[in-house]
């Protein structure tokens, strides 16, 4: 077993172990922290795949940015319950397990049945990456920046507190539970509006 293979197994075990904690941990703060472990280990896997730039981005963006954000989220919303998630009913967990197993089975079966090139090619340099960004994929790049911008704006708009004067805000719910309404037309047909 070469050193590289050993490294792979270690990283794989770390990723999967941490991932298991992410989906099962009761404490949400723990969940987020385990997620950080998973992502960091993925960054290690990236390094092993000689994608160093990506690994850096992964660590900076994910572990640095996103997880902090998620921690904020957890702190803000589950403060009262002690960061503890409600337990799922057993049948739900069982069904989820079956589904996950099925996904795993199908995907791995597909992978194993497909003849894959095992030999490595030269890893692209960061320079090549940058060049590719600004030439071949420049349109997608720009579109992405627009998307990020709109996501930020959208997030602000969605999460923004209503003005204090808004009476709806005083009562709490910003989205009032509306009267049962037709989602599709067929139902609406049955409830004639009085004219």
């Amino acid at each position: 077993m070469s050193g590289e293979q050993v490294g792979f197994w270690v990283v794989a075990l770390a990723i999967l172990g941490a991932g298991r904690q992410v989906v099962t941990s009761r404490n949400l703060v723990h969940t987020v922290l385990w997620l950080a472990v998973t992502l960091a280990n993925t960054a290690v896997a990236f390094v092993m795949l000689e994608a160093t730039f990506l690994a850096a981005v992964q660590v900076l963006l994910y572990t640095g940015g996103v997880l902090t954000l998620m921690l904020f989220g957890v702190m803000l919303t589950t403060r009262d319950t002690g960061f503890v998630d409600v337990r799922s009913p057993l049948h739900r967990g069982f069904a989820g397990g079956v589904l996950a197993a099925a996904v795993m089975a199908l995907v791995s079966a597909s992978i194993l049945r497909t003849p894959l090139p095992e030999a490595r090619v030269t890893a692209p340099t960061t320079e090549a990456l940058g060049a590719s960004f600004l030439t071949e994929h420049v349109l997608a790049f720009e579109a992405l920046s627009l998307l990020l911008l709109s996501a930020v704006i959208g997030a602000v708009v969605i999460a923004r507190r209503r003005d204090a004067g808004d009476p709806r805000e005083e009562r709490g719910p910003a989205i009032r539970p509306r009267a049962p309404r037709a989602a599709g037309g067929a139902v609406r047909l049955g409830a004639p509006e009085a004219e």
């Binding site: 992502l39 795949l49 998620m70």
Partner: protein
């Protein structure tokens, strides 16, 4: 280590994510599970890029990461909104899809 190993690793990670998405009760938990799935996809992309050809795979992975970031941002905003509306973030509270 060959491509197959990485792909299987990613598949396993993805399956974990699926499990989390359908079982977690807390919206942030669901979000974290989605991150796992996205991460699995990125792993795949990078692995393919290494064993196949050229920078395209990595480029896509980068795009994917950026997209995920955007998704997290919006997702968290929604979670906040949900919290403000219902006082809790259990995801079954958001059952407006039922008529």
């Amino acid at each position: 280590m060959g491509l197959t190993g990485y792909l299987l690793l990613a598949a396993a990670l993805f399956s974990l994510g699926v499990f989390g998405v359908v079982t977690r009760r807390n919206a942030i938990g669901v979000l974290a599970s989605v991150e796992l799935m996205a991460n699995a996809v990125n792993l795949n992309l990078v692995a393919f890029s290494r064993h196949h050809a050229g920078p395209t795979g990595q480029v896509f992975a980068l795009f994917s990461i950026a997209l995920t970031v955007a998704e997290v941002v919006v997702g968290l905003a929604l979670v906040l909104l949900l919290f403000r509306a219902k006082g809790d973030v259990r995801i079954e509270l958001a059952s407006e899809l039922k008529d």
